[in-house]
Symmetry: C2
Subunit: 268 residues, 2 copies
DNA sequence: TATGTTGTACTCATATTGAGTTTTACTCAT
DNA sequence: ATGAGTAAAACTCAATATGAGTACAACATA
């Protein structure tokens, strides 16, 4: 049997249906605080719950790839035009397909992770009742395992786990890639870049060492000739302006300080 | 409408069908050479071509998760029992869903990456005509982009790209995780561990510095009291034996030497 | 027994890091 | 204005990590 003969007889509907969705963990920094884009679901299941923006991938519809689907979901929810979307970093995070994660049917969800500069307030898309940038800290999750009690809005499906994975990925990516610049505008200062690291890592960094390190990594940033027009809000000299360099990896990496602890220990 | 009412009316078949497959990039080291598990396809499409082992995820069938499906595919193709599978490292690599990547229909493939100690010769599974451990070098691919001309067996679908991504992931993982030990038995010597790095990275390492580094990273390896019974095949003293430690991340990392070049340069 | 190989322990010059200090330029509240 | 506080950027210095090489004893093989 040739491939052609085979394809003529092939019936895609002979298998049990599995739905594929794309969900997006979109991160940005507002007022020095890391935020994630959440929508409030308008329809069942989990109507009224907060969730990551996302939607079903239709098999035919425009023949769109997974990444394109993620970009579309993000654009729909943020009102970003294609131009503004160009400055947003988008990468695949992982795929979640545990049986029972969606009560309707077997759903495989391909999660994407997005970093963007301070974006406008979102407008709710098609099947969302509401859309907001939510401060990540207030969601009370630190790792995949832990889940804060009480206090917080619980996310629909397994989105809390996906978000936790996205945050961990974001923290790791800042170590060895220049992607922190994706949270900033075209030009930025070293202290602004440091603020990104501090927001994502959640701990203060040594200003002097950070400054030295960033300038010593080849291709991380390149200086424009300029400085800011004024000093900082609370004083201090004007800062020099930089733009992102051409490096794709930081070498050597900017290691985050701290917890030697979570390096150890087997999964028990 | 409550969730219950909604679910009662919900018809999964109202959507276009999308198939989900799981493919596995299984790596092992035989005679100091990195090998990948390949099968020769028995059925169309691409009958007769080499491909990564994998198969469709059925919606119902045992309510199996994606990871379980990958483990099952791996076990079917290698004849590994559950016990032996326990020593195999298995992680999700990425999901490939470009339209047209499978001529039959829209197929989303979730790829997994596996590292195992030298495993027995595979026996062909259900829809494979043949299964082999193939030396990776002979496949003539170095990165996602490049594809060697002539010489090599081409892989079916987009499996060459998936394999390339898996290899790059493996190379990176050896830098900052102790997963190199997954290619070895329960106990091993430092030179054996070094051989793993050299096989995966494809370049020789400084024996003395490697030795010092491995022993200095906390939790990478822990000594058993023993040594090998004899010296090396071509001479040399007996080597001390170690087993994997409890670290999950190497700190500081073991950076691979070389190409400062591919760190730079934007995608043009 | 001679020869070559290799595991392990060294040395040493050169980065890289973490912590702190200094200088200087700015804002803001008197 | 003026002084107090702040912060950018450039330092210093000790501790640590790295790359390259040397030394030597333990081993296999001829």
């Amino acid at each position: 049997m040739t491939d052609e003969e085979f394809l003529a007889e092939y019936d895609p509907r002979s298998y049990d249906p599995i739905a594929v969705t794309v969900d997006v963990v979109a991160l940005t920094i507002r007022d020095g605080v890391l935020h994630v884009l959440l929508i409030r679901r308008a329809n069942p299941p989990f109507a009224g719950s907060w969730a990551l923006p996302g939607g079903f991938v239709r098999a035919v519809e425009g023949e769109e790839g997974l990444r394109e689907a993620a970009a579309r979901e993000l654009a729909e929810e943020t009102g970003l035009t294609a131009g503004a979307l160009g400055r947003v970093h988008l990468e695949q995070l992982g795929t979640y397909g545990a049986p029972g994660r969606d009560p309707r049917m077997r759903v495989i969800s391909v999660a994407y992770l997005a970093f963007g500069p301070d974006l406008p307030d979102p407008r709710a898309g098609s099947d969302a009742a509401e859309a907001v940038w939510a401060p990540v800290d207030a969601l009370g999750l630190t790792s995949t395992a832990s889940q804060a009690p009480g206090t917080t809005r619980r996310l629909a499906f397994d989105h809390a786990g996906i978000l936790a994975d996205g945050l961990e990925r974001a923290r790791a990516k800042l170590e060895y890639t220049p992607l922190a610049t994706a949270f900033l505008g075209e030009v930025f200062t070293i202290p602004e870049l440091r603020a990104v690291y501090e927001s994502v890592w959640g701990e203060p960094l040594h200003a002097g060492n950070f400054h030295r390190k960033v300038l010593s990594v080849p291709g991380f940033v390149e200086g424009t000739g300029d400085t800011t027009a004024t000093g900082g809000r609370r004083g201090g000299p004007r800062a020099r302006l930089y733009r992102a360099g051409d490096a794709r990896l930081l070498h050597p990496a900017l290691l985050r300080p701290g917890s030697e602890d979570d390096l150890r220990q087997e999964t028990p």
